[in-house]
Symmetry: C2
Subunit: 338 residues, 2 copies
Amino acid sequence: MPNVRLSDVAQHAGVSTKTVSNVVHGYVHVRESTRAKVQRAIDELGYRPNLRGRNLATGRTGMIALAFPDLRIPYFAELAHVLSRAAGERGYRLLLEESGDAPDVERAMLSAQEAGVVDGVLLQPSWLNSTEIAQHRRGVPVVLLGESAAPLTLDHVRIDNIAAAAQVVEHLAALGRRRIAFLCAEESAPSETSRQRLIGYQQGLEHCGLPVDASLIVTGRVADAHSAARALGAALDDGMAPDAVFCRDDLVALGALRALGERGLRVPEDVAVTGWDDSTLASAVRPSLTCVRADEAELARRALDLLIERIEGFDGLGRHEFVAHSLVVRESAPRPAV
Amino acid sequence: MPNVRLSDVAQHAGVSTKTVSNVVHGYVHVRESTRAKVQRAIDELGYRPNLRGRNLATGRTGMIALAFPDLRIPYFAELAHVLSRAAGERGYRLLLEESGDAPDVERAMLSAQEAGVVDGVLLQPSWLNSTEIAQHRRGVPVVLLGESAAPLTLDHVRIDNIAAAAQVVEHLAALGRRRIAFLCAEESAPSETSRQRLIGYQQGLEHCGLPVDASLIVTGRVADAHSAARALGAALDDGMAPDAVFCRDDLVALGALRALGERGLRVPEDVAVTGWDDSTLASAVRPSLTCVRADEAELARRALDLLIERIEGFDGLGRHEFVAHSLVVRESAPRPAV
DNA sequence: CGGCGAACTTACAGCGCTGTAAATTTGGGT
DNA sequence: ACCCAAATTTACAGCGCTGTAAGTTCGCCG
């Protein structure tokens, strides 16, 4: 069945294609009788607008790309979920793009590559640094997410990692913990995420009058429970004796639980543990994880609003916004007894 | 920077637009000198093909939609990840669509709605039944994934749930377990997934000569660790005393671990537990989960191959394929001592 | 040296829709 | 009846690219 086109409807209804287009779009200046006639033709023929044609004519696709490291990391899956819904409410669809192990993907998102496919890009950079991002500027509208330092020229939405990390440390200190380990900082070239959480970690310690002890910083690969477990395990076997472990994210915290459990250390009695992200597993594992939670709904809202403003022509300097976060207290680092 | 068009390149190089198009596509019959000349023009002008135009002209978008229930369920995130890579290798991009709580999304995917946006649809139905799916047939090319019974007319790729479930039971029986509980079957209108795993569960029991005891079937909401924990907890408190729990998926298994742990039951000493999907958490959690693992890479490969054949014109009856699966043995239900 | 098929190139007509600007109709006055 | 602005409707020119069919050019045989 040859697809029904606008012109078919026009012919069937005895009007011009433009009038049909006007009806489809609910344009005001169409006589009621005409509208009805056209509508009937549309229904009879089962017409559906072809988005490709529309896109070509308008220069818009109604799609927004979301580029992030890896769908398999629970936080990103949840972020994608929330953004996808929010985008839908605004009449856009989300095209997911995993940058995975290739910086090229991020570069491609920023270049004009994507022009013609998406109207804008939400980018959570994991490879590119601020300078590189700033340079690739001449492409589609972009809003940055996450912790990496953003160039002044681009919009950026994130939570205050430093404050949140400090808050975590203060919570642990309030529990009476004095030897708070940090798991894991990348060995070399720590990501901006780790860097900021480390800064907050240190601020928190100082604020609570606790000593900053470099031997409590465990290095290792990130976002992988197994390597985190190995890293912490090695440190423990090496004699490190923390009474709390600040984990850079939930997956790492999962690894920490394992490493601690295997050595007979109880959580939270012997060692408190905190995660970060509040992914599904944070509340499901045992003990459930105390962790930092970003207000993802608001993050999605702000990021999309900024991006859509750009898509619609705004061309000012970058806006840099913080979004609320909270500390979700659970079993792995409970509320201090009063 | 007014976007560079094919015609600009053509003019710059002093050839026709079609020749430029031919060069871009690596068409064979282009003289080497011409090709070089055009290539130089492309580079100098920084030309990038506009996909919209191309799509309109060819009637292809190079996009495939993947519709599934929820990105936040680890299995689907991983499936999306694998399919996304596989699609990329075949020159397609994946557009994710969560059907979430609305059957309408699934219906929309099958209708012509999507025509013009994607070339084909991979659908993991969770709401529509076979009949309904069969009726909506006249849309984009479709390949079905997952357990729901598929109409004869559509392609379908899945693992053999019944065999896999039986295998799980046999493994548990080999461990000497005799009272194997099933967690969770939906209260009313069990999903096809639960139904098949239940059938396999029963087959496995019968095959091992174990009695089928309906009181060992725990009902509850699915794919949610908390409700699974509650459901199993209630059953345990009610006097059910299983020595193994067959969980319909990893998240449910996580809930089972919690419910058992809270009641002082050790896994696997007192009660063995199995999951299903082998999501990241299966190996990260403690004890790590023995579970069924689909060969996702092959699943992705087959599903895409079938879909692309359809996109390229194949119009035969539905092909129904099984993909390999395996039992990953871990701590929660270890290999039997020999 | 004419003739020929193969190797290259190109003109042109859309793909399906929308923006612009111009044409037509309508509804009130006068 | 006649004129004018407002309300409707339409013709037309693309958006950027590709398929088709129709040239051109080239190398080589007889």
